[in-house]
Symmetry: C2
Subunit: 316 residues, 2 copies
């Protein structure tokens, strides 16, 4: 039995066929950039057709970069223009007769890790995704936490430092400082405060500073890069601590584009979390990198497909 997992991002669409054991048989990636609205769904539909011509699949799972509203089958994807309330489920159902399941990317990340990655065997597991934005996929008793309106896990909005600042309005306190884009904003802020600074990040136009440039400068002990990433380590540690105190999980996986280069800070993040978190729960936590890297969402979508198949089989 095989299923098709699809991971839709703001810049690319990945499709892969999986066995029930989680083996990836075929993978295909298509560029999404410059597309918006229905053409994004059309790209997905033609991608599915093209895969299904070569491979038999029994179900389809889709991870979307935003919120999936289970009740009406619509998607809110902030980085895809025209996808404020996009009827993806209906679009796919009109084109395919397979069982189809859709969920948010952060839900897919933890489902992927739970299926074949580092969270395998854990019923209480969290994937903290730190990329351009920040979100968390949360498993409670083996099930994805959805909340009342499918928005649970919006940890980028976590309040970690008062008083409130205007820079938190658009994407939340935690994300505004400790996401990929937050790291850059933070470094720029520190640069603006230190007119005497003449380090590695000084020569370039502030607009050109990137998070990867900051990680490189950190390796060379650049003071602005060190100050920036030390602040982020503190925030990542506080966020891990708050997840531990609230959810008492077995494992937290640090993933997304920033982890990546920030994985070397895992011991420092753990040390910071240990200062803040509930002291019985924290020592029992496994703090782990992702084992699936940028494919976590794709694996999660594959698992979602098999889950929909099980549900359908049980119902019929």
């Amino acid at each position: 039995m095989t299923a098709l997992g699809i991971d839709l991002g703001a810049t690319k669409l990945s499709l892969a066929v999986f066995t029930q054991e989680g083996e990836m048989l075929v993978k295909k990636t298509l560029p999404v950039h410059q597309l918006s609205g229905t053409p994004v769904a059309d790209l997905m539909i033609s991608g599915i057709h093209s895969i299904c011509e070569q491979q038999e699949v029994q179900a389809i799972g889709v991870a979307v970069p935003g919120i999936y509203h289970q009740q009406d089958g619509t998607v809110w994807a902030p980085n895809i223009s025209g996808w404020e309330n996009y009827p993806l489920q209906q679009q796919l159902r009109e084109n395919f007769s397979y069982p189809i399941a859709i969920d948010s990317d952060r839900a897919a990340y933890i489902m992927g890790e739970s299926w074949v990655g580092n969270a395998r065997g854990f019923a209480h597991a969290i994937y903290l995704a730190v990329g351009t934005g920040i979100g968390a996929g949360i498993l409670v008793n083996g099930k994805v936490l959805r909340g009342a309106h499918d928005i649970a896990g919006a940890i980028g909005w976590m309040a970690l430092q008062s008083p409130f600042k205007d820079q938190y309005i658009n994407c939340g306190c935690f994300e505004s400082m400790a996401s990929g884009s937050g790291i850059v904003k933070l470094a720029r802020e520190y640069l603006g405060q230190q007119s005497s600074y003449n380090g590695l990040l000084a020569g370039q136009d502030a607009e050109l500073i990137s998070s990867s440039g900051i990680f490189e400068a950190f390796e060379k002990h650049d003071p602005i890069a060190v100050q920036t990433l030390q602040h982020c380590i503190r925030l990542w540690g506080m966020a891990v601590a708050n997840l531990v105190s609230l959810f008492d999980p077995e494992i937290i996986i640090m993933g997304g584009g920033v982890f990546g280069p920030a994985l070397k800070f895992l011991p420092d993040i753990r040390a910071e979390a240990e200062r803040w978190a509930q002291p019985v729960s924290m020592p029992q936590l496994i703090l782990s990198p992702s084992s699936l890297g940028s494919d976590a969402g794709l694996y999660g979508a594959g698992h979602l497909a098999f889950q929909s198949l099980n549900t359908t089989l049980h119902v019929s």
Copy 2:
């Protein structure tokens, strides 16, 4: 059908008989103070005998002031000496043949409110208990969130303000500033910083300052009381925001001894939370007082008893 609910606190033991519809038929309260270890369980056992001589009950539910470990039936209650790992389930089973269910007080609070209080009808509901300590009872899809080690909901440990201070070591950042005892510590700290202060809290020995005294002084616009409670409003608001962003609940109930007098701040707490929280989830939240007051745990214990009965009946 009737069941017995028991709410064990550090100073008193309450017992009540409930109908299946949540009506309280009989209530009895016994003092616990000065007791420790097995005599606390003995008091509970004699209380149960004395109730059961007069009333027929089919099951027993117990709320304990700490952590209940489901797997081995033991209780960790930090304010009852000798209850570090107390085998309460075994003690009760040796004395009674009724189905017996035990859980933490914070789990009982939200179960009580969900049964007959303000959280009735909501599957995603949280009880934020602010008393001497701070904890949260969390319902996810109608079930209490337990976590991997029964410690979920330890929100008193929530990190809300860096850098870390030594005063957070014993009970966590949030609890150290915004619990009943935290309010007093905070006021003392502010008093120590303002040698020119000559207000309502100045005359008395710092050791005699109480949270109720601070609430009274707030009514008379005392600057230390205002500064203290405004700081707490900010922290309570941030905590509500973080629960909203992570859990996306339908309702959060503010309860415990402090809410109580702090209920008049509910609009201010909501306003603070609205600045921080995920902006789609927050407007849909109901922020509510407890409707069961100090009986929330007792009602929750009653509901726990009926649940154990249902489980038993289904099994047999």
